[in-house]
Structures are given as structure tokens and as C-alpha cells.
């Protein structure tokens, strides 16, 4: 039981606070014992992260080392592509690119969606709520993937310079994908804020004269964070998939920079030549990322939301 001090220093009963978020995530006792899939998800994410980070230290993704496409060997773990480049090095670099774009996308969209969603929820049914929600619905009118392709088609795939700022393809991909995610996150934040607003502690804080900003930033934001962490994890999986799809269609990073999507796109015709490794292995790494983050999201949901509902505290 914690207390919130009013401006007059009078003790006010507050909502039972949870343990810090990080402690709740790492507390394995909260993870359902039957959740093999949860652990499998963690394993997939760890493997994906290892390939994306440590894997990058092995080999040069742009070096035209081999004479042509070669199957996996001790020298080239994932084989080489038609230009003689190490597919493992390119997959690792591609996974890193996918990871940074997806992470950037989720963080950017969260940083926009959190304040918007909390403001909308705090002013439920008010003018601000209506304005924000109608705006988000406008963005949502197009499916996210179509929306991103639409924006990238309009802006082209080259570099854009606006004044002193240069927007490379990576930045634009992050911004476009993040724009697509904002309505998704904002709606969840708004709903979570509405739930919090029903709690007594918010009313009491208001009665005590605590400012709106402080209530939103210090109290409500902390309590809407757990569902957002879960959703962010699931969104990571969607973002990896979306980035891969966009790269596959030629809307991703320019060559020779690899992404998991453009590696698979380039490999398509090579399957005819018997070069199974060229598409299969980068594809498997992509599956690791997508599956892993999905399962991890489920696991976090069990740990953060399911656990607290079950009164594990």
C-alpha cells in the first residue's frame, strides 16, 4: 500500500500500486508454468537478437567474396548469393535493419500515441477527444500496409531534403510505419486511460487539486504502461513483417543494404536454380523475429495483465 501526498501533506489513500514494471516482467514465477510456447517465444527473440547483433560481427555483407551462389558450408554458414556475398552476413545485417526499423517504428508511434490516447481518454467525449479520435480514424481509413505504400509512392524511394534535414529511406520507413501504428496504440491508451479514470484515486487526486498534467504523467501513464508494453511487443512482430513486406515489394532500403524482405525478394528466382538456402534461411530468421515477438507479447500479457488480474501481488 502506498500513499499519495496531497499539496497540504494530508495522507490520501491511493490505488494499490503494482511492483515496478521491469520487476514484474523478469519475475519468472509470474509466467504460467504450462507456457512452453512463452519460453519458446523468448528463445526465438533471443536468437533473433543474437543474429541481429552478434551476427553482424561475422563476415562482410557487401563483400563479393565467392565466385557465385554456393550452398551453406563451414566458411559460409548460410551459403552465398549469386553475387558471391555471404548470406549469413547479409541476413544478420538485414535482421539488424529490420530490428532498428521496427523498434524505431514502435517507439516513435508510442511516443505520439501515448499522449494522444491519454488526452483523449482524460477528456472522454469532450471536444479534444472527438478531434483526436476523428483524426485517427482518418488515418485508419486505409489499411496500414496500403497507407504506408501510398505515402512511400508519393514521396519516392530516394532521399528527401527538407531544409537542412535529410530524410533517408530508413527514417521515412520508420515515420510511415509509425504513422500507421499511431491509431492502433492511441485507441488502446485511450481505453486504458478511461479505465483508470473510473478509479477512485484519480477522482481523489482531482479533488485534492493535483494538476491534470501531473495526474496524466505521474499516475495514469504508469498504469497504462503494462498493456502498452504487451501491445508494443506484438507491434514489433507486425512491424518486422511490414518492413519485410515493403522491402520485398521494393519500398525498403536501397541496395546494397540488405533487409530480410529484400533478401527474400532477390532469392525468389534462385530457388529455380536449386539455391534453396538463399530464401529459406533469411526467411527462417524473419519467422524467428515475427513468431518470437508474438509469443513474447503473449507471455508478457500473461505476466503483466493476467497475473495482476489474478491477484498475484
Amino acid at each position: 500500500m502506498t500513499t499519495v501526498m496531497s499539496p497540504t501533506a494530508a495522507p490520501v489513500p491511493a490505488r494499490p500500486a503494482s511492483r515496478p514494471l521491469v520487476l514484474r516482467i523478469v519475475d519468472v514465477r509470474r509466467w504460467p508454468i504450462h507456457g512452453v510456447t512463452n519460453w519458446f517465444g523468448v528463445g526465438c527473440v533471443v536468437a533473433f537478437l543474437l543474429i541481429a547483433t552478434v551476427g553482424q560481427l561475422i563476415g562482410d555483407p557487401t563483400l563479393l567474396d565467392a565466385p557465385g551462389a554456393e550452398p551453406p558450408s563451414a566458411e559460409y554458414w548460410f551459403g552465398t548469393d549469386t553475387l558471391g556475398r555471404d548470406v549469413f552476413a547479409r541476413t544478420a545485417e538485414g535482421a539488424w535493419n529490420s530490428l532498428t526499423i521496427s523498434l524505431g517504428t514502435v517507439l516513435l508511434s508510442l511516443s505520439v500515441a501515448m499522449p494522444l490516447g491519454m488526452l483523449a481518454g482524460y477528456h472522454y467525449n469532450g471536444r479534444l477527444d472527438n478531434a483526436i479520435m476523428r483524426g485517427l480514424e482518418t488515418v485508419q481509413a486505409l489499411p496500414m500496409f496500403v497507407f504506408v505504400m501510398f505515402v512511400l509512392t508519393l514521396t519516392g524511394t530516394g532521399t528527401i531534403e527538407i531544409g537542412p534535414v535529410t530524410f533517408g529511406m530508413r527514417t521515412r520507413l520508420i515515420v510511415c510505419l509509425a504513422l500507421g501504428f499511431v491509431p492502433f496504440f492511441a485507441r488502446i491508451v485511450r481505453a486504458a486511460t478511461l479505465v483508470e479514470m473510473q478509479d477512485d484515486y484519480v477522482a481523489m487526486l482531482q479533488v485534492l487539486g493535483v494538476g491534470r498534467t501531473r495526474i496524466l504523467l505521474s499516475e495514469i501513464s504508469v498504469n497504462v504502461l503494462p498493456p502498452m508494453v504487451v501491445q508494443a511487443c506484438l507491434a514489433m512482430a507486425i512491424a518486422i513483417f511490414a518492413e519485410g513486406g515493403l522491402s520485398f515489394l521494393g519500398f525498403g532500403l536501397a541496395p546494397p543494404e540488405p533487409t530480410l524482405g529484400n533478401l527474400i525478394a532477390d532469392a525468389g528466382s534462385q530457388i529455380l536454380e536449386g539455391a534453396w538456402w538463399y530464401a529459406t534461411l533469411p526467411g527462417a530468421v524473419m519467422v524467428l523475429g515475427i513468431l518470437g515477438f508474438n509469443l513474447l507479447g503473449d507471455a508478457l500479457s500473461d505476466a503483466l495483465l493476467g497475473g495482476s488480474e489474478g491477484g498475484a501481488e
Partner: protein, 530 residues
């Protein structure tokens, strides 16, 4: 899986042992594989009963007017339908086709009179007259028509008309030696179809019966063709944008011929005994030039360093599967003006020499953007080249643009280096004049290179009627552009066509000027003896 376990899965009545089950499975798989192999042959045999040749192409134009584009994308589809006043024979000499004989040219070279053959009919039965040729000329000389031919004729053609039903008169503003080349490549269409973008009507052996834009084109044999009835009853073109899908369709016998064999699959196509691959050196160029008007390519040492560090062998082996010739200047081995002795650049990058050249450069820039088309070949080529240039410390950004934006870059000169694959056989036959246009300072496509000798030689190329003078001028232009490192394509790709063994051989002399000429092919039951 034990027999008991198998039985538990499929039921107690299952009579087979594990080994028996696996044996039957193996036999079934083998039989299915055998049937699959047989079914391809039988499918082809069954399909060929209708006498239709099926061709897979990589793309098709939305505007099918053959007067508007000289690219192979349009003209490969138009080949069986339209014909020209003159045509190339197998020694690539221009000989009369729809024309009744050689043009009568006035002493000052400004008036051309072309006699037409009588009795030639279009596929709708109308007779070919001078009015059809005049309508064709009117369309390609109209600035608002969007025809690519305007770039060849503007400023040269003053007027045109019909002296009588079978004589066409063309008045020129100045002597124009390339006129004969244009008359050999410009298709003649029915006067009512000259402006249409959704139909084509010519005097060729096949009539366009129907088409779905961007997908399929169906042609039927025209019985009234002046050259005799063709062997085929029809020709069908199907668009498969993806190279792998195109190739699978050929391997499965769904199509008979492939016009654009993906270079990265060429090895397996060559190895397939059921397929024949025709590879010829042709006017298939990699347009490759730099913006000389600004840094870093305004610095000749920088240009020469880049040219010396170009990985020509890498592009040849890794991108084109060997189906190309090492590049030097803009004029390739199948084109007029080719100089086989001009080889200033080694096959492999000369990195030490390139670094020495780069040290002499005054520009501080060590980076540039390479703007390429969206096709897979261009992308692979750019990556190999960028890797080579990176070895001397030049950082290259690859920018891929679709046709329209790529052309805009070329026209507004907002590029560092441009590169794309370009075939010119249908506009220039065994030459490629447009590829050289950026080197001429007065051209709208000028890359900023100013050299009076090149300008004068280019003028000679366009004006002279003497092929030897033209060839000598082209050789010198090529030499200057190589020396100055303004245009240095890494390779000259070959034109590659693949076909089933059951299709008669292509005329390789015609393929050297981009003509696949499917109208002259036939289906051979049992295959050819090649």
C-alpha cells in the same frame, strides 16, 4: 514408425508392413515424377495442335501504337503485325519491303521519293497507299503525339506528301543520311490507326485479334498477306513480369519462347536439354554516363579513377552469367563504329592505377549517386559496381527509379551517374545513335560534356549517307568518350532468347538487330535437330 504404430494410425485392417508402405510410396512418387515429365511433352504436343505459338514477354505497353515507341517492349509485340518500307536482310543491308525499289533522292539530298508496291493490303483488306505512309509520317512528326520518333526527325523533316497513290515524297531541311535507317525501322500503319493508342493495323502476316492491356495479346494469321500464308495459325503473347515465373512457364511447356531470359538463370537454361538458347551480340546497351557539368564528375581524374576501378569482369560473370562482352566505350561489338582494338580498361579493376588517378583529382568529393532502373539486372549490376568503387574509397548510393522518374532525372540532369539497359535495334538497326546523344553539347540530353570534335562528328554521323564515313566518325566518338571517361558501360549484354526444342530455329542474323521475327517461326513436332 513401427507396423503396429502404423496400424494404430490407419486402422487394424491395414495389411502392409512398414517396409511395404515405404516401398509403395517410393514407387508412387517415382511414377508421379515420370508422369509429370511425360505430361510436359504431351501438354506441348496437345497444345501445338492449334498451331499457335505462345511467347512469354517481360512487359507490355499500355499504349500499343507501334509508332509511339521503338523499344523492344512494344515492337516485339508489333513485329508480326506491322512492316516497314525497307527491311534489313541477313547481312543487315536495307532492302525494299513495302517500297517497290530504292528511294529516288534529289541531287541536293533534300527530296526523297519512295515508290510503294501495289497490291499490298492491310489486315482489314484495305490496300496500302501513299496516304497511309503520309499518315504515319504525320503522326511521328507531330510534337503532341508523344511518338519517340520525333527525336530522330525533328529539325530534319520539313514536309511530306503523296505524289500519287504509290509514291511518297519527303522534303528535308538539310541532308539527312540517317533517313534511310529510319525508313528501315519506322513501321507503316493504316491511316485510320496512326493516332490510335489501343489498336494496331499493319500489313504483316498476323492480325491483332484481341488483347488485355498489360497481360495478353492474341494474333491470328492473315490469309491475304503479300508474302504468303504463315505456318502458324496464331501467336499469343503473355506477360510474365517475374523472370522466374517466365522461365517456369517455358520449362513446363506452357509457352514456346521466352524473349527476355533472366541473366541470372541463364546457366540452368543452357543446361536444359529440352530448351534451346540463342545468344547473340546485338544493339543491347547499358546506357551509362555521368554528369560532367558538376562535381564530382566534372573532374576528369575522378571520372578516370571510377572508370579504372569498374569491375567489368564481376558484372560479366556474376550478373550476366557470361552472356556479355567486356565493355569499354558506349559503342558495342554489334554496332556500327565498334573498335575491337580499343581496350584502355582491364577486365578486372586496376585499383592501384585508380587510386593514383584519384589522388590527382581536385574534387574533394568521394561519393556519388548511381541512378538505375528498377529491374533486377540493373540492381545486381549496381551492387557489383558499387562494391568495386568502394575499394578505392568511393561511396556510392544506389537509387532505383521507375521509367518515368528515371527519364525525368535524365532530362533535368539531376543525376551523378545514370545507368539502364537499353535496346535500340528497332530504331537504329545495327547502331545506337541515341546512346551517344548525351555526349553532344547541343542535345537536350546533354550530360554537360563539351567537345567540339565530338559535336562535329555527331553532326556527320546524322547527316552523311556514306556508311564508311559514319562508321569512322562513330569510332572516333567512341574513342574520345572512352578517353575522357564520360561513358563507360561495364559490359555489352547479349540478346538472349530461349525456346522449346519443338520451335524452329530463330534467324540469328535478324536477332542481332533485335528482331525475334516470330511470324517466320513454325512448330516442329518431335523437335529440331540442333
Amino acid at each position: 514408425m513401427s507396423t503396429e504404430r502404423l496400424r494404430s494410425v490407419v486402422g487394424e485392417g491395414f495389411p502392409l508392413s512398414r517396409r511395404g508402405f515405404l516401398g509403395i510410396t517410393a514407387v508412387t512418387v517415382a511414377a508421379a515424377t515420370g508422369c509429370a515429365s511425360t505430361s510436359v511433352a504431351s501438354r506441348i504436343e496437345e497444345r501445338h495442335r492449334d498451331g499457335i505459338l505462345r511467347i512469354a514477354v517481360a512487359s507490355a505497353p499500355s499504349n500499343i501504337n507501334p509508332l509511339d515507341s521503338g523499344s523492344e517492349v512494344t515492337r516485339w509485340i508489333a513485329e508480326p503485325v506491322v512492316e516497314t518500307l525497307y527491311a534489313y536482310d541477313d547481312r543487315q543491308r536495307s532492302v525494299p519491303l513495302l517500297a517497290a525499289g530504292e528511294p529516288e533522292v534529289s541531287a541536293d539530298g533534300l527530296t526523297w521519293r519512295i515508290p510503294l508496291r501495289s497490291g499490298i493490303t492491310f489486315q482489314n483488306g484495305d490496300e496500302l497507299t501513299a496516304n497511309d505512309v503520309v499518315a504515319t509520317l504525320a503522326h511521328v512528326n507531330d510534337l503532341g503525339s508523344g511518338s519517340e520518333w520525333i527525336t530522330y526527325l525533328l529539325g530534319y523533316v520539313q514536309s511530306y506528301g503523296a505524289d500519287d497513290a504509290y509514291t511518297v515524297r519527303i522534303e528535308l531541311t538539310k541532308p539527312y543520311g540517317l533517313m534511310r535507317s529510319h525508313l528501315t525501322n519506322l513501321p507503316i500503319v493504316h491511316r485510320d490507326y496512326a493516332k490510335r493508342k489501343d489498336a494496331m493495323m499493319g500489313t504483316g502476316p498476323f492480325r491483332l485479334e484481341s488483347f488485355t492491356p498489360g497481360q495478353t495479346f492474341k494474333m491470328v494469321a492473315y490469309d491475304g498477306y503479300h508474302g504468303g500464308k504463315p505456318d502458324l495459325t496464331g501467336i499469343e503473347y503473355t506477360v510474365f513480369q517475374d523472370g522466374a515465373t517466365r522461365l517456369i512457364s517455358l520449362r513446363q511447356g506452357k509457352v514456346d519462347l521466352l524473349t527476355s531470359v533472366p541473366y541470372h538463370n541463364i546457366g540452368s537454361v543452357r543446361a536444359n536439354p529440352d530448351l534451346h538458347v540463342d545468344e547473340v551480340e546485338g544493339p543491347n546497351d547499358i546506357l551509362s554516363y555521368v554528369a560532367v557539368m558538376r562535381e564530382p564528375f566534372s573532374d576528369p581524374w575522378f571520372r578516370k579513377a571510377v572508370a579504372a576501378a569498374t569491375d567489368r569482369h564481376g558484372v560479366l560473370s556474376k550478373v550476366f552469367g557470361g552472356a556479355a562482352v567486356i565493355g569499354q566505350g558506349p559503342i558495342g561489338p554489334a554496332e556500327m563504329g565498334w573498335d575491337p582494338d580499343l581496350q584502355p580498361y582491364p577486365d578486372e579493376p586496376d585499383l592501384d592505377h585508380a587510386r593514383e588517378l584519384l589522388d590527382q583529382a581536385t574534387t574533394e568529393r568521394r561519393d556519388f549517386t548511381l541512378t538505375i532502373g528498377t529491374n533486377h539486372t540493373s540492381r545486381d549490376m549496381a551492387q557489383v559496381l558499387a562494391a568495386g568503387w568502394a575499394k578505392i574509397g568511393i561511396d556510392v548510393t544506389i537509387q532505383q527509379l521507375a521509367g518515368g522518374p528515371w527519364s525525368n532525372k535524365m532530362l533535368d540532369r539531376s543525376y551523378d551517374m545514370l545507368m539502364n539497359v537499353f535496346q535500340s535495334g528497332f530504331t537504329s538497326g545495327p547502331a545506337n545513335y541515341m546512346a551517344l546523344a548525351p555526349a553532344q553539347s547541343t542535345s537536350v540530353l546533354s550530360c554537360g560534356f563539351v567537345n567540339q570534335e565530338v559535336d562535329e562528328l555527331m553532326d556527320t554521323v546524322w547527316r552523311t549517307s556514306d556508311d564508311e564515313v559514319r562508321a569512322a566518325s562513330l569510332r572516333r566518338i567512341n574513342e574520345i568518350l572512352v578517353e575522357e571517361a564520360v561513358m563507360f558501360p561495364p559490359v555489352y549484354p547479349k540478346i538472349v532468347v530461349a525456346r522449346l526444342a519443338t520451335v524452329s530455329p530463330l534467324n540469328l542474323d535478324q536477332l542481332r538487330i533485335s528482331r525475334v521475327a516470330p511470324q517466320n517461326l513454325s512448330l516442329v513436332p518431335g523437335g529440331t535437330d540442333e
